[in-house]
Amino acid sequence: MCLALPARVVERRGADTALVDLAGVQKEISLALVDDVAVGDYVIVHVGYALNRLDPEEAEKTLALFAELATLAPNGSDHEIHR
């Protein structure tokens, strides 16, 4: 994804995979591109890969911004920019 919504690691599954919670949706991702990720950490996910591990304070700040963004969209969800 281009937008950096932090995902929280909820379970490690093997050496290189993890289950993350991304805005309430759980999905399995690869940890092959990052080191030392533990349950509870926040990561940025792009096409199934964790890209970066985030500082928890920055992750919370970013999540708050995205929550605010969601309230601005119709029905609290995404809206279309253009066709």
């Binding site: 281009c2 937008l3 995205f66 809206h79 253009h82």
Partner: protein, 321 residues
């Protein structure tokens, strides 16, 4: 919340593609930024982005400073070149090989990524080794027959590009002067000509350009070149505009401030928005192909999407009569 997706709808009827449409869904940031203080916006814009956060932060900081009549903050040139190089290498090592049924190089990609926090000489050494041993590209840009780059080019029936493409930034003042209406985002893009040059005509051309642009970013990082940035300021209206470079093309931020230094208008022009505002870039690539069956054309559509390099996940909705 969903952070964005590209939908490509294609309808196959009577042996040909009868309809091809794109729809790009992603949240609009401007309403969140408008009304906030300039300082707050400068801090929060980079937090919204993942792949291009440093370029977004650079464009935001420069546009805000221009609108306030201040000099732009100095760019972190090395970090910005690294970000651009990372995006190119992700495509060259992971996405293109996978799309061409060739072995991708995730371990090499991971190893290079880990060097990004190392001192610059170590990063440059790792980058040179990656280009040499994995991609098979020399420091002068020559493609050797045994590397991953040569295999991808062969699979695409393409030759290496001679020079990077799409690195020029528009002139901000001329650009804004030509943009007569103030419609949001990309509805009126006055630089269609520049984008037409940068929009690849085929997946093979796109791959060759990506390789040339990755090589250029590597060399710029090694030489310590300044990262591209152009800006314009209209102090009497507290308006600032900044253009910078990303791996996918030029990026612009425009801001208008109130007398109390709050944002009254914010606009962002991003490469993915331009390239997928319509299906024209995809249709152009498919139209150049010979007559194909449905399955083969669908595969070509996948390559055409990758060639236009969207920065977010995509989905093809394929229907047939």
């Amino acid at each position: 919340m969903n952070t964005g997706k590209l939908h490509v709808s294609a309808h196959w009827r009577a042996g040909c593609l009868a309809r091809l449409e794109t729809r790009l869904d992603r949240p609009q940031l401007a309403p969140l930024l408008e009304g906030q203080s300039a300082a707050q916006v400068g801090l929060c814009v980079p937090l919204f982005y993942s792949l291009c956060r440093h370029a977004q932060g650079l464009a935001a900081g420069a546009a805000l400073a221009a609108a306030a009549g201040r000099p732009a903050p100095p760019p972190a040139h090395s970090v910005l070149w690294q970000e651009t190089l990372h995006e190119h290498l992700w495509r060259l090592l992971l996405d293109w090989p996978a799309a061409l049924d060739l072995a991708a190089a995730p371990d090499a990609c991971a190893a290079w990524r880990k060097q990004r926090t190392a001192p610059t000489p170590a990063l440059l050494s790792a980058t040179a080794a990656l280009f040499d041993t994995v991609l098979g590209v020399t420091p002068s840009g020559q493609v050797r027959p045994a590397g991953l780059a040569a295999r991808c080019l062969a699979a695409l029936g393409s030759a290496p590009a001679l020079a990077p493409v799409g690195l020029d930034l528009p002139d901000p003042e001329a650009w804004l002067a030509r943009q007569a209406d103030a419609s949001p985002m990309v509805a009126a893009d006055p630089l269609a000509e520049l984008d037409a040059i940068a929009t690849p005509a085929s997946p093979g051309v796109a791959y060759a350009r990506q390789l040339a642009n990755a090589h250029a970013a590597w060399q710029a990082l090694a030489a310590g070149h300044p990262y591209p940035l152009r800006l314009a300021a209209w102090p009497h209206t507290r308006r600032g505009l900044a253009f910078t470079h990303t791996a996918r093309g030029w990026l612009a931020h425009e801001v208008v401030l109130t007398p109390a230094a709050r944002v009254s208008r914010y606009r962002i022009w991003a490469p993915t928005d331009r390239r997928f505002a319509s299906a024209a870039g995809l249709a152009r690539q498919l139209a150049a192909l010979p007559a194909l069956d449905a399955a083969t054309l669908r595969r070509q559509l996948e390559l055409a999407i990758l060639a236009l390099d969207p920065c977010l996940p995509w989905q093809i909705d394929w229907t047939e009569d």
